[in-house]
Symmetry: C2
Amino acid sequence: MPTSSPLAIGIDFGGTSVKFGVCEGARIVSSAEPIDTTAYYGRPPEVLIDAIAERVDGLRTENVVAVGAGIPGLVDFERGHIFEITNVPGWVEVPFRDLLGERIGMPVSVDNDANCMAYAEWRHGAGKGYSDLIAITLGTGVGGGLVIGRQLHRGAQFCAGEIGHTSIDYQSPAGDGRMPGIIEKFVGNREIAAHANRLYAGAGIEKDIADCTPKALAGAGDVLATQVWQDIANWLGVALANAIYLLNPQAIIIGGGIAKAGPVLFEPLREKLNQLLTPVLAENLQLLPAKFGNEAGIIGAAAQAAVQN
Amino acid sequence: MPTSSPLAIGIDFGGTSVKFGVCEGARIVSSAEPIDTTAYYGRPPEVLIDAIAERVDGLRTENVVAVGAGIPGLVDFERGHIFEITNVPGWVEVPFRDLLGERIGMPVSVDNDANCMAYAEWRHGAGKGYSDLIAITLGTGVGGGLVIGRQLHRGAQFCAGEIGHTSIDYQSPAGDGRMPGIIEKFVGNREIAAHANRLYAGAGIEKDIADCTPKALAGAGDVLATQVWQDIANWLGVALANAIYLLNPQAIIIGGGIAKAGPVLFEPLREKLNQLLTPVLAENLQLLPAKFGNEAGIIGAAAQAAVQN
Protein backbone atom coordinates (compact mmCIF):
# COMPACT_ATOMS: atom_id res chain seq x y z
CA MET A 1 0.00 0.00 0.00
CA PRO A 2 1.38 3.40 -0.92
CA THR A 3 1.40 5.97 1.89
CA SER A 4 -0.73 9.04 1.33
CA SER A 5 2.16 11.53 1.05
CA PRO A 6 3.66 12.03 -2.39
CA LEU A 7 7.42 11.48 -2.45
CA ALA A 8 10.06 12.92 -4.74
CA ILE A 9 13.58 11.83 -5.48
CA GLY A 10 16.26 14.47 -5.05
CA ILE A 11 19.57 14.22 -6.91
CA ASP A 12 22.61 16.17 -5.80
CA PHE A 13 24.75 16.15 -8.93
CA GLY A 14 28.30 17.13 -8.00
CA GLY A 15 31.67 17.10 -9.69
CA THR A 16 32.88 14.16 -7.60
CA SER A 17 29.67 12.24 -6.84
CA VAL A 18 26.00 12.05 -7.69
CA LYS A 19 23.89 11.48 -4.59
CA PHE A 20 20.28 10.33 -4.30
CA GLY A 21 17.51 10.54 -1.73
CA VAL A 22 13.79 9.82 -1.64
CA CYS A 23 12.21 12.72 0.24
CA GLU A 24 8.98 13.23 2.09
CA GLY A 25 9.20 16.93 2.72
CA ALA A 26 12.50 17.46 4.52
CA ARG A 27 12.79 13.81 5.52
CA ILE A 28 15.05 11.58 3.45
CA VAL A 29 13.25 8.24 3.71
CA SER A 30 15.69 6.22 1.63
CA SER A 31 18.81 6.69 -0.42
CA ALA A 32 20.97 4.91 -2.99
CA GLU A 33 24.69 4.34 -3.37
CA PRO A 34 26.25 7.54 -4.80
CA ILE A 35 27.73 7.42 -8.30
CA ASP A 36 31.39 8.35 -8.75
CA THR A 37 31.12 11.24 -11.23
CA THR A 38 34.82 11.13 -12.09
CA ALA A 39 34.37 7.71 -13.73
CA TYR A 40 32.17 9.42 -16.33
CA TYR A 41 34.35 12.43 -17.16
CA GLY A 42 34.48 13.06 -20.90
CA ARG A 43 32.05 10.29 -21.77
CA PRO A 44 28.73 11.05 -23.50
CA PRO A 45 26.22 12.38 -20.93
CA GLU A 46 23.81 9.60 -21.92
CA VAL A 47 26.07 7.04 -20.22
CA LEU A 48 25.88 8.78 -16.84
CA ILE A 49 22.17 9.45 -17.37
CA ASP A 50 21.70 5.69 -17.79
CA ALA A 51 23.45 5.08 -14.48
CA ILE A 52 21.33 7.79 -12.81
CA ALA A 53 18.17 6.24 -14.23
CA GLU A 54 19.15 2.86 -12.78
CA ARG A 55 19.53 4.37 -9.33
CA VAL A 56 16.17 6.13 -9.69
CA ASP A 57 14.51 2.88 -10.79
CA GLY A 58 15.99 1.13 -7.77
CA LEU A 59 14.65 3.82 -5.41
CA ARG A 60 11.21 4.49 -6.80
CA THR A 61 8.02 3.31 -5.19
CA GLU A 62 4.44 3.85 -6.27
CA ASN A 63 4.12 7.17 -4.49
CA VAL A 64 7.27 8.74 -5.95
CA VAL A 65 5.85 11.38 -8.27
CA ALA A 66 8.86 13.28 -9.61
CA VAL A 67 12.62 13.65 -9.72
CA GLY A 68 14.55 16.88 -9.12
CA ALA A 69 18.25 17.45 -9.63
CA GLY A 70 20.54 20.19 -8.35
CA ILE A 71 23.75 20.89 -10.26
CA PRO A 72 26.73 23.17 -9.72
CA GLY A 73 26.40 24.99 -13.01
CA LEU A 74 24.26 26.88 -15.45
CA VAL A 75 20.78 25.65 -16.32
CA ASP A 76 17.67 26.75 -18.16
CA PHE A 77 15.16 25.89 -15.46
CA GLU A 78 12.13 26.22 -17.73
CA ARG A 79 13.47 23.87 -20.40
CA GLY A 80 15.25 21.56 -17.94
CA HIS A 81 18.41 22.16 -19.92
CA ILE A 82 21.96 22.03 -18.53
CA PHE A 83 24.35 24.50 -20.20
CA GLU A 84 27.38 23.28 -18.30
CA ILE A 85 28.38 21.65 -15.04
CA THR A 86 31.42 22.98 -13.24
CA ASN A 87 34.20 20.36 -13.16
CA VAL A 88 32.31 17.70 -15.14
CA PRO A 89 33.96 17.49 -18.57
CA GLY A 90 31.61 16.59 -21.38
CA TRP A 91 28.46 17.97 -19.76
CA VAL A 92 27.75 20.89 -22.07
CA GLU A 93 24.32 21.64 -23.55
CA VAL A 94 22.54 18.60 -22.17
CA PRO A 95 18.71 18.42 -22.37
CA PHE A 96 18.69 16.70 -18.97
CA ARG A 97 14.98 16.88 -18.23
CA ASP A 98 14.04 15.27 -21.53
CA LEU A 99 16.81 12.66 -21.57
CA LEU A 100 16.27 11.45 -18.01
CA GLY A 101 12.49 11.92 -18.21
CA GLU A 102 12.21 9.67 -21.28
CA ARG A 103 14.38 7.08 -19.60
CA ILE A 104 12.41 6.94 -16.32
CA GLY A 105 8.91 8.02 -17.40
CA MET A 106 8.57 10.57 -14.62
CA PRO A 107 8.65 14.38 -14.56
CA VAL A 108 12.19 15.73 -14.04
CA SER A 109 13.29 19.20 -13.01
CA VAL A 110 16.79 20.60 -12.78
CA ASP A 111 18.09 23.72 -11.04
CA ASN A 112 21.28 25.28 -9.80
CA ASP A 113 22.44 23.70 -6.53
CA ALA A 114 22.48 26.99 -4.62
CA ASN A 115 18.85 27.53 -5.63
CA CYS A 116 18.05 24.04 -4.34
CA MET A 117 19.69 24.86 -1.01
CA ALA A 118 17.75 28.15 -0.78
CA TYR A 119 14.52 26.34 -1.63
CA ALA A 120 15.14 23.63 0.98
CA GLU A 121 15.76 26.22 3.69
CA TRP A 122 12.75 28.28 2.68
CA ARG A 123 10.27 25.41 2.40
CA HIS A 124 11.47 23.19 5.21
CA GLY A 125 14.36 24.82 7.06
CA ALA A 126 15.55 28.00 8.74
CA GLY A 127 13.70 30.24 6.28
CA LYS A 128 10.28 28.67 6.65
CA GLY A 129 7.49 31.25 6.69
CA TYR A 130 9.51 34.16 5.30
CA SER A 131 8.45 35.80 2.05
CA ASP A 132 11.86 37.34 1.28
CA LEU A 133 15.23 35.86 2.12
CA ILE A 134 18.78 35.47 0.91
CA ALA A 135 20.43 32.07 1.38
CA ILE A 136 24.20 31.84 1.09
CA THR A 137 26.50 28.82 1.18
CA LEU A 138 30.06 29.22 2.36
CA GLY A 139 32.44 26.54 1.16
CA THR A 140 35.22 26.28 -1.40
CA GLY A 141 32.98 28.59 -3.38
CA VAL A 142 30.31 31.00 -2.21
CA GLY A 143 26.85 30.40 -3.64
CA GLY A 144 23.51 32.02 -3.09
CA GLY A 145 19.82 31.83 -3.78
CA LEU A 146 17.01 34.35 -3.38
CA VAL A 147 13.41 34.02 -2.32
CA ILE A 148 11.50 37.16 -3.25
CA GLY A 149 7.76 37.50 -2.76
CA ARG A 150 7.41 33.82 -1.82
CA GLN A 151 9.07 32.77 -5.08
CA LEU A 152 12.53 31.48 -5.79
CA HIS A 153 13.97 34.30 -7.89
CA ARG A 154 15.97 32.71 -10.69
CA GLY A 155 16.45 35.75 -12.91
CA ALA A 156 16.14 36.35 -16.62
CA GLN A 157 18.81 33.77 -17.55
CA PHE A 158 18.37 31.69 -14.36
CA CYS A 159 21.64 33.17 -13.06
CA ALA A 160 20.36 35.18 -10.09
CA GLY A 161 21.66 34.79 -6.54
CA GLU A 162 25.37 34.84 -7.39
CA ILE A 163 26.36 36.74 -4.26
CA GLY A 164 29.74 34.96 -4.36
CA HIS A 165 30.51 36.93 -7.51
CA THR A 166 29.70 40.32 -6.03
CA SER A 167 32.60 42.63 -5.29
CA ILE A 168 33.58 44.40 -2.08
CA ASP A 169 36.67 46.03 -3.59
CA TYR A 170 36.69 47.37 -7.13
CA GLN A 171 40.47 47.82 -6.96
CA SER A 172 41.36 44.37 -5.63
CA PRO A 173 43.75 42.25 -7.67
CA ALA A 174 41.87 39.17 -6.47
CA GLY A 175 38.88 38.25 -8.56
CA ASP A 176 37.51 35.77 -11.05
CA GLY A 177 39.17 37.35 -14.07
CA ARG A 178 36.11 39.51 -14.70
CA MET A 179 35.00 40.96 -11.39
CA PRO A 180 37.68 42.37 -9.10
CA GLY A 181 37.42 41.75 -5.36
CA ILE A 182 34.61 39.21 -5.37
CA ILE A 183 33.63 38.01 -1.92
CA GLU A 184 34.38 34.38 -2.84
CA LYS A 185 38.07 35.34 -3.12
CA PHE A 186 37.97 36.63 0.47
CA VAL A 187 35.90 34.03 2.31
CA GLY A 188 36.24 30.86 0.25
CA ASN A 189 37.65 27.97 2.32
CA ARG A 190 41.07 28.08 0.66
CA GLU A 191 41.31 31.87 0.89
CA ILE A 192 40.47 31.80 4.60
CA ALA A 193 43.12 29.15 5.22
CA ALA A 194 45.72 31.11 3.25
CA HIS A 195 44.84 34.32 5.11
CA ALA A 196 45.11 32.60 8.51
CA ASN A 197 48.37 30.98 7.47
CA ARG A 198 49.79 34.43 6.58
CA LEU A 199 48.63 35.94 9.88
CA TYR A 200 50.24 33.12 11.89
CA ALA A 201 53.45 33.32 9.83
CA GLY A 202 53.53 37.10 10.36
CA ALA A 203 53.41 36.48 14.11
CA GLY A 204 56.25 33.98 13.83
CA ILE A 205 53.97 31.00 14.39
CA GLU A 206 54.49 28.07 12.06
CA LYS A 207 51.12 26.55 11.22
CA ASP A 208 50.46 23.96 8.62
CA ILE A 209 47.81 25.11 6.13
CA ALA A 210 45.74 22.08 7.21
CA ASP A 211 45.55 23.66 10.67
CA CYS A 212 44.30 26.92 9.18
CA THR A 213 41.02 25.64 7.70
CA PRO A 214 37.80 27.28 8.92
CA LYS A 215 37.07 24.09 10.87
CA ALA A 216 40.44 24.26 12.63
CA LEU A 217 40.08 27.99 13.23
CA ALA A 218 36.63 27.51 14.77
CA GLY A 219 38.18 25.48 17.55
CA ALA A 220 41.49 27.34 17.86
CA GLY A 221 40.36 30.09 20.23
CA ASP A 222 43.59 32.07 19.99
CA VAL A 223 43.95 35.77 19.23
CA LEU A 224 44.88 35.27 15.60
CA ALA A 225 42.01 32.90 14.91
CA THR A 226 39.69 35.49 16.47
CA GLN A 227 41.24 38.08 14.15
CA VAL A 228 40.52 35.85 11.14
CA TRP A 229 36.85 35.53 12.13
CA GLN A 230 36.68 39.30 12.57
CA ASP A 231 38.16 39.77 9.09
CA ILE A 232 35.61 37.32 7.67
CA ALA A 233 32.85 39.32 9.36
CA ASN A 234 34.23 42.58 7.94
CA TRP A 235 34.36 41.22 4.38
CA LEU A 236 31.20 39.14 4.41
CA GLY A 237 29.33 41.87 6.29
CA VAL A 238 29.86 44.34 3.44
CA ALA A 239 28.82 41.81 0.77
CA LEU A 240 25.69 40.92 2.75
CA ALA A 241 24.90 44.57 3.55
CA ASN A 242 25.10 45.34 -0.18
CA ALA A 243 22.51 42.65 -0.85
CA ILE A 244 20.39 43.84 2.09
CA TYR A 245 20.37 47.50 0.97
CA LEU A 246 19.29 46.27 -2.44
CA LEU A 247 16.64 43.73 -1.42
CA ASN A 248 15.65 44.49 2.18
CA PRO A 249 14.93 40.82 2.94
CA GLN A 250 13.49 39.50 6.19
CA ALA A 251 16.27 36.99 6.70
CA ILE A 252 19.75 35.92 5.72
CA ILE A 253 20.34 32.15 5.96
CA ILE A 254 23.96 31.02 6.09
CA GLY A 255 24.89 27.45 5.22
CA GLY A 256 27.87 25.47 4.00
CA GLY A 257 30.86 24.17 5.88
CA ILE A 258 32.00 27.45 7.42
CA ALA A 259 28.55 28.13 8.85
CA LYS A 260 29.07 25.18 11.19
CA ALA A 261 31.66 27.31 13.03
CA GLY A 262 28.74 28.76 15.01
CA PRO A 263 29.14 31.81 17.29
CA VAL A 264 32.74 32.56 16.22
CA LEU A 265 31.26 33.35 12.79
CA PHE A 266 27.78 34.59 13.66
CA GLU A 267 28.58 36.91 16.56
CA PRO A 268 31.09 39.22 14.84
CA LEU A 269 29.04 39.05 11.63
CA ARG A 270 25.88 40.14 13.41
CA GLU A 271 27.78 42.97 15.08
CA LYS A 272 29.25 44.08 11.76
CA LEU A 273 25.83 44.08 10.10
CA ASN A 274 24.38 46.15 12.94
CA GLN A 275 27.14 48.66 12.31
CA LEU A 276 26.71 48.74 8.51
CA LEU A 277 22.92 48.81 8.27
CA THR A 278 20.52 51.63 9.06
CA PRO A 279 18.59 50.90 12.29
CA VAL A 280 15.34 49.99 10.52
CA LEU A 281 17.17 47.35 8.47
CA ALA A 282 19.37 46.07 11.31
CA GLU A 283 16.53 45.76 13.82
CA ASN A 284 14.30 43.77 11.50
CA LEU A 285 16.83 41.43 9.91
CA GLN A 286 17.14 37.80 10.99
CA LEU A 287 20.61 36.31 10.58
CA LEU A 288 20.21 32.55 10.79
CA PRO A 289 22.30 29.41 10.41
CA ALA A 290 20.97 26.98 7.82
CA LYS A 291 19.04 23.99 9.13
CA PHE A 292 20.40 21.56 6.57
CA GLY A 293 23.97 20.54 5.80
CA ASN A 294 25.12 18.37 2.91
CA GLU A 295 21.60 17.06 2.42
CA ALA A 296 20.22 20.51 1.47
CA GLY A 297 20.73 19.88 -2.25
CA ILE A 298 18.79 16.61 -2.23
CA ILE A 299 15.98 18.02 -0.09
CA GLY A 300 15.65 21.21 -2.15
CA ALA A 301 15.77 19.45 -5.51
CA ALA A 302 13.13 16.96 -4.37
CA ALA A 303 10.96 19.70 -2.88
CA GLN A 304 11.02 21.70 -6.10
CA ALA A 305 10.12 18.60 -8.12
CA ALA A 306 7.31 17.68 -5.72
CA VAL A 307 5.72 21.12 -5.93
CA GLN A 308 5.71 21.16 -9.70
CA ASN A 309 4.14 17.74 -10.03
CA MET B 1 -18.58 65.22 -19.90
CA PRO B 2 -15.78 63.26 -18.30
CA THR B 3 -13.44 61.43 -20.66
CA SER B 4 -13.44 57.65 -20.43
CA SER B 5 -9.86 57.30 -19.10
CA PRO B 6 -9.42 57.44 -15.35
CA LEU B 7 -6.92 60.08 -14.29
CA ALA B 8 -4.73 60.26 -11.21
CA ILE B 9 -2.92 63.16 -9.61
CA GLY B 10 0.79 62.65 -9.01
CA ILE B 11 2.61 64.61 -6.31
CA ASP B 12 6.38 64.94 -6.32
CA PHE B 13 7.10 65.92 -2.72
CA GLY B 14 10.62 67.29 -2.52
CA GLY B 15 12.68 69.13 0.04
CA THR B 16 12.46 72.43 -1.88
CA SER B 17 9.12 72.14 -3.70
CA VAL B 18 5.98 70.06 -3.95
CA LYS B 19 4.92 69.58 -7.58
CA PHE B 20 1.60 68.41 -8.99
CA GLY B 21 0.37 66.85 -12.21
CA VAL B 22 -2.85 65.25 -13.40
CA CYS B 23 -1.81 62.17 -15.37
CA GLU B 24 -3.43 60.04 -18.00
CA GLY B 25 -0.90 57.25 -18.18
CA ALA B 26 2.42 58.94 -18.91
CA ARG B 27 0.80 62.14 -20.13
CA ILE B 28 0.60 65.07 -17.71
CA VAL B 29 -2.65 66.70 -18.80
CA SER B 30 -2.58 69.57 -16.33
CA SER B 31 -0.54 70.83 -13.43
CA ALA B 32 -0.68 73.28 -10.56
CA GLU B 33 1.68 75.89 -9.20
CA PRO B 34 4.33 74.11 -7.07
CA ILE B 35 4.39 74.74 -3.33
CA ASP B 36 7.58 76.11 -1.78
CA THR B 37 8.36 73.40 0.78
CA THR B 38 10.86 75.59 2.66
CA ALA B 39 8.05 77.91 3.76
CA TYR B 40 6.63 75.00 5.79
CA TYR B 41 9.82 73.79 7.48
CA GLY B 42 9.26 73.01 11.13
CA ARG B 43 5.50 73.71 11.01
CA PRO B 44 2.95 70.99 11.79
CA PRO B 45 2.57 68.67 8.78
CA GLU B 46 -1.18 69.42 8.75
CA VAL B 47 -0.48 72.96 7.52
CA LEU B 48 1.36 71.75 4.42
CA ILE B 49 -1.20 68.99 3.93
CA ASP B 50 -3.90 71.70 3.86
CA ALA B 51 -1.98 73.51 1.12
CA ILE B 52 -1.51 70.26 -0.80
CA ALA B 53 -5.23 69.50 -0.48
CA GLU B 54 -6.06 72.94 -1.92
CA ARG B 55 -3.90 72.28 -4.98
CA VAL B 56 -5.52 68.85 -5.40
CA ASP B 57 -8.99 70.37 -5.14
CA GLY B 58 -8.04 72.92 -7.78
CA LEU B 59 -6.81 70.20 -10.16
CA ARG B 60 -9.41 67.51 -9.73
CA THR B 61 -12.05 66.75 -12.29
CA GLU B 62 -14.76 64.10 -12.24
CA ASN B 63 -12.54 61.41 -13.67
CA VAL B 64 -9.65 61.87 -11.24
CA VAL B 65 -9.82 58.69 -9.18
CA ALA B 66 -6.82 58.82 -6.86
CA VAL B 67 -3.76 60.72 -5.66
CA GLY B 68 -0.24 59.32 -5.38
CA ALA B 69 2.76 60.98 -3.77
CA GLY B 70 6.46 60.26 -4.09
CA ILE B 71 8.73 61.40 -1.27
CA PRO B 72 12.49 61.38 -0.73
CA GLY B 73 12.38 59.40 2.47
CA LEU B 74 11.18 56.41 4.38
CA VAL B 75 7.56 55.25 4.12
CA ASP B 76 5.35 52.37 5.09
CA PHE B 77 3.72 51.85 1.72
CA GLU B 78 0.97 49.59 3.04
CA ARG B 79 -0.17 52.02 5.74
CA GLY B 80 0.54 55.14 3.67
CA HIS B 81 2.71 56.33 6.53
CA ILE B 82 5.71 58.65 6.21
CA PHE B 83 8.49 57.93 8.73
CA GLU B 84 10.61 60.88 7.65
CA ILE B 85 11.30 63.08 4.65
CA THR B 86 14.93 63.96 3.94
CA ASN B 87 15.51 67.69 4.38
CA VAL B 88 11.96 68.54 5.48
CA PRO B 89 12.12 69.38 9.21
CA GLY B 90 9.01 68.44 11.13
CA TRP B 91 7.88 65.63 8.84
CA VAL B 92 8.41 62.66 11.12
CA GLU B 93 5.84 59.89 11.64
CA VAL B 94 3.09 61.41 9.51
CA PRO B 95 0.02 59.28 8.60
CA PHE B 96 -0.02 60.97 5.20
CA ARG B 97 -2.52 58.72 3.45
CA ASP B 98 -5.12 59.14 6.17
CA LEU B 99 -4.58 62.87 6.74
CA LEU B 100 -4.68 63.85 3.07
CA GLY B 101 -7.30 61.22 2.25
CA GLU B 102 -9.72 62.58 4.86
CA ARG B 103 -9.12 66.11 3.64
CA ILE B 104 -9.78 65.36 -0.07
CA GLY B 105 -12.09 62.33 0.09
CA MET B 106 -10.05 60.33 -2.44
CA PRO B 107 -7.72 57.34 -2.10
CA VAL B 108 -4.13 58.40 -1.46
CA SER B 109 -0.94 56.35 -1.79
CA VAL B 110 2.60 57.30 -0.89
CA ASP B 111 5.90 55.73 -1.88
CA ASN B 112 9.60 56.46 -2.00
CA ASP B 113 10.47 58.73 -4.95
CA ALA B 114 12.97 56.28 -6.46
CA ASN B 115 10.26 53.62 -6.46
CA CYS B 116 7.97 56.07 -8.26
CA MET B 117 10.65 56.70 -10.88
CA ALA B 118 11.18 52.95 -11.34
CA TYR B 119 7.44 52.41 -11.61
CA ALA B 120 7.05 55.21 -14.19
CA GLU B 121 9.81 53.74 -16.35
CA TRP B 122 8.45 50.23 -16.04
CA ARG B 123 4.79 51.04 -16.75
CA HIS B 124 5.21 53.80 -19.31
CA GLY B 125 8.88 54.35 -20.09
CA ALA B 126 12.13 52.68 -21.06
CA GLY B 127 11.34 49.55 -19.04
CA LYS B 128 7.92 48.83 -20.52
CA GLY B 129 7.35 45.13 -21.09
CA TYR B 130 10.19 43.86 -18.90
CA SER B 131 9.43 41.60 -15.95
CA ASP B 132 12.70 42.30 -14.10
CA LEU B 133 14.62 45.55 -14.09
CA ILE B 134 16.73 47.83 -11.95
CA ALA B 135 16.13 51.57 -12.26
CA ILE B 136 18.75 53.94 -10.94
CA THR B 137 18.74 57.73 -10.66
CA LEU B 138 22.03 59.59 -10.72
CA GLY B 139 21.91 63.04 -9.17
CA THR B 140 23.11 64.64 -5.96
CA GLY B 141 22.22 61.28 -4.50
CA VAL B 142 21.96 57.89 -6.14
CA GLY B 143 18.58 56.21 -5.81
CA GLY B 144 17.16 53.00 -7.14
CA GLY B 145 14.05 50.93 -7.55
CA LEU B 146 13.52 47.28 -8.48
CA VAL B 147 10.90 45.53 -10.53
CA ILE B 148 11.03 41.79 -9.89
CA GLY B 149 8.54 39.36 -11.41
CA ARG B 150 6.37 42.22 -12.75
CA GLN B 151 6.09 43.70 -9.27
CA LEU B 152 7.74 46.72 -7.72
CA HIS B 153 9.90 45.08 -5.04
CA ARG B 154 9.69 47.29 -1.96
CA GLY B 155 11.21 44.92 0.58
CA ALA B 156 10.27 43.90 4.10
CA GLN B 157 10.50 47.46 5.50
CA PHE B 158 9.85 49.16 2.13
CA CYS B 159 13.56 50.02 1.97
CA ALA B 160 14.63 47.94 -1.04
CA GLY B 161 16.39 49.35 -4.09
CA GLU B 162 19.00 51.40 -2.24
CA ILE B 163 21.75 50.76 -4.75
CA GLY B 164 23.24 54.14 -3.87
CA HIS B 165 24.07 52.73 -0.45
CA THR B 166 25.88 49.67 -1.77
CA SER B 167 29.65 49.59 -1.44
CA ILE B 168 32.34 49.05 -4.04
CA ASP B 169 35.21 49.40 -1.57
CA TYR B 170 35.02 48.02 1.94
CA GLN B 171 38.21 49.90 2.89
CA SER B 172 37.23 53.30 1.54
CA PRO B 173 37.21 56.22 3.98
CA ALA B 174 34.30 57.70 1.99
CA GLY B 175 30.90 56.47 3.06
CA ASP B 176 27.72 57.43 4.80
CA GLY B 177 29.03 56.85 8.32
CA ARG B 178 27.81 53.25 8.24
CA MET B 179 28.75 51.75 4.91
CA PRO B 180 32.27 52.42 3.61
CA GLY B 181 32.77 53.13 -0.09
CA ILE B 182 29.13 53.51 -1.10
CA ILE B 183 28.67 54.23 -4.80
CA GLU B 184 26.84 57.50 -4.05
CA LYS B 185 30.12 58.86 -2.65
CA PHE B 186 31.83 58.11 -5.97
CA VAL B 187 29.26 59.17 -8.57
CA GLY B 188 27.05 61.72 -6.81
CA ASN B 189 27.01 65.06 -8.65
CA ARG B 190 29.18 66.82 -6.09
CA GLU B 191 31.66 63.95 -5.88
CA ILE B 192 32.06 63.84 -9.66
CA ALA B 193 32.68 67.60 -9.76
CA ALA B 194 35.23 67.37 -6.95
CA HIS B 195 36.98 64.45 -8.66
CA ALA B 196 37.16 66.30 -11.99
CA ASN B 197 38.38 69.43 -10.21
CA ARG B 198 41.21 67.42 -8.63
CA LEU B 199 42.17 65.83 -11.96
CA TYR B 200 42.30 69.22 -13.69
CA ALA B 201 44.28 70.75 -10.79
CA GLY B 202 46.69 67.80 -10.91
CA ALA B 203 47.31 68.58 -14.59
CA GLY B 204 47.94 72.25 -13.76
CA ILE B 205 44.61 73.37 -15.21
CA GLU B 206 42.61 75.82 -13.13
CA LYS B 207 38.93 74.97 -13.44
CA ASP B 208 36.16 76.43 -11.40
CA ILE B 209 34.13 73.71 -9.67
CA ALA B 210 31.09 75.03 -11.59
CA ASP B 211 32.85 73.96 -14.79
CA CYS B 212 33.38 70.46 -13.39
CA THR B 213 29.74 69.43 -13.06
CA PRO B 214 28.62 66.33 -14.98
CA LYS B 215 26.74 68.66 -17.35
CA ALA B 216 29.90 70.67 -18.07
CA LEU B 217 31.99 67.50 -18.36
CA ALA B 218 29.54 66.01 -20.87
CA GLY B 219 30.32 68.83 -23.26
CA ALA B 220 33.99 69.30 -22.44
CA GLY B 221 35.43 66.68 -24.78
CA ASP B 222 38.97 66.94 -23.41
CA VAL B 223 41.20 64.11 -22.24
CA LEU B 224 40.58 64.69 -18.55
CA ALA B 225 36.81 64.85 -18.95
CA THR B 226 37.01 61.56 -20.85
CA GLN B 227 39.03 60.16 -17.95
CA VAL B 228 36.34 61.25 -15.49
CA TRP B 229 33.65 59.45 -17.52
CA GLN B 230 35.85 56.35 -17.62
CA ASP B 231 36.26 56.51 -13.84
CA ILE B 232 32.50 56.85 -13.43
CA ALA B 233 32.05 53.78 -15.65
CA ASN B 234 34.62 51.84 -13.60
CA TRP B 235 32.91 52.67 -10.29
CA LEU B 236 29.29 52.50 -11.42
CA GLY B 237 30.03 49.39 -13.48
CA VAL B 238 31.05 47.43 -10.37
CA ALA B 239 28.02 48.60 -8.37
CA LEU B 240 25.69 47.67 -11.23
CA ALA B 241 27.47 44.34 -11.87
CA ASN B 242 27.01 43.50 -8.18
CA ALA B 243 23.28 44.07 -8.54
CA ILE B 244 23.21 42.14 -11.83
CA TYR B 245 25.03 39.08 -10.41
CA LEU B 246 22.51 39.12 -7.60
CA LEU B 247 19.30 39.70 -9.56
CA ASN B 248 20.02 38.85 -13.21
CA PRO B 249 17.54 41.44 -14.48
CA GLN B 250 16.60 41.98 -18.11
CA ALA B 251 17.37 45.67 -18.06
CA ILE B 252 19.09 48.50 -16.22
CA ILE B 253 17.40 51.90 -16.65
CA ILE B 254 19.51 54.94 -15.85
CA GLY B 255 17.88 58.27 -15.11
CA GLY B 256 18.62 61.49 -13.28
CA GLY B 257 20.68 64.48 -14.33
CA ILE B 258 23.91 62.65 -15.17
CA ALA B 259 22.09 60.20 -17.45
CA LYS B 260 21.42 63.12 -19.82
CA ALA B 261 25.16 63.09 -20.65
CA GLY B 262 24.36 60.40 -23.23
CA PRO B 263 27.09 58.39 -24.99
CA VAL B 264 29.96 59.80 -22.87
CA LEU B 265 28.33 57.98 -19.95
CA PHE B 266 26.66 55.02 -21.64
CA GLU B 267 29.46 53.89 -23.97
CA PRO B 268 32.24 53.35 -21.39
CA LEU B 269 29.67 51.99 -18.92
CA ARG B 270 28.41 49.41 -21.42
CA GLU B 271 32.00 48.43 -22.21
CA LYS B 272 32.81 48.08 -18.51
CA LEU B 273 29.74 45.91 -17.89
CA ASN B 274 30.67 43.66 -20.83
CA GLN B 275 34.06 43.19 -19.20
CA LEU B 276 32.69 42.53 -15.70
CA LEU B 277 29.79 40.22 -16.53
CA THR B 278 29.86 36.62 -17.71
CA PRO B 279 28.89 36.39 -21.42
CA VAL B 280 25.39 35.05 -20.73
CA LEU B 281 24.65 38.05 -18.50
CA ALA B 282 26.37 40.65 -20.70
CA GLU B 283 24.74 39.48 -23.93
CA ASN B 284 21.23 39.54 -22.54
CA LEU B 285 21.32 42.75 -20.51
CA GLN B 286 19.72 45.94 -21.81
CA LEU B 287 21.36 49.15 -20.58
CA LEU B 288 18.90 51.94 -21.26
CA PRO B 289 18.55 55.66 -20.59
CA ALA B 290 15.37 56.58 -18.74
CA LYS B 291 12.53 57.99 -20.81
CA PHE B 292 11.39 60.49 -18.22
CA GLY B 293 13.28 63.33 -16.58
CA ASN B 294 12.07 65.47 -13.70
CA GLU B 295 8.47 64.41 -14.36
CA ALA B 296 9.19 60.72 -13.52
CA GLY B 297 8.15 61.19 -9.88
CA ILE B 298 4.77 62.70 -10.76
CA ILE B 299 4.07 60.10 -13.47
CA GLY B 300 5.12 57.16 -11.29
CA ALA B 301 3.22 58.31 -8.21
CA ALA B 302 0.09 58.86 -10.29
CA ALA B 303 0.47 55.52 -12.08
CA GLN B 304 0.78 53.66 -8.78
CA ALA B 305 -2.31 55.42 -7.41
CA ALA B 306 -4.30 54.73 -10.59
CA VAL B 307 -3.53 51.01 -10.51
CA GLN B 308 -4.56 50.64 -6.90
CA ASN B 309 -7.86 52.40 -7.34
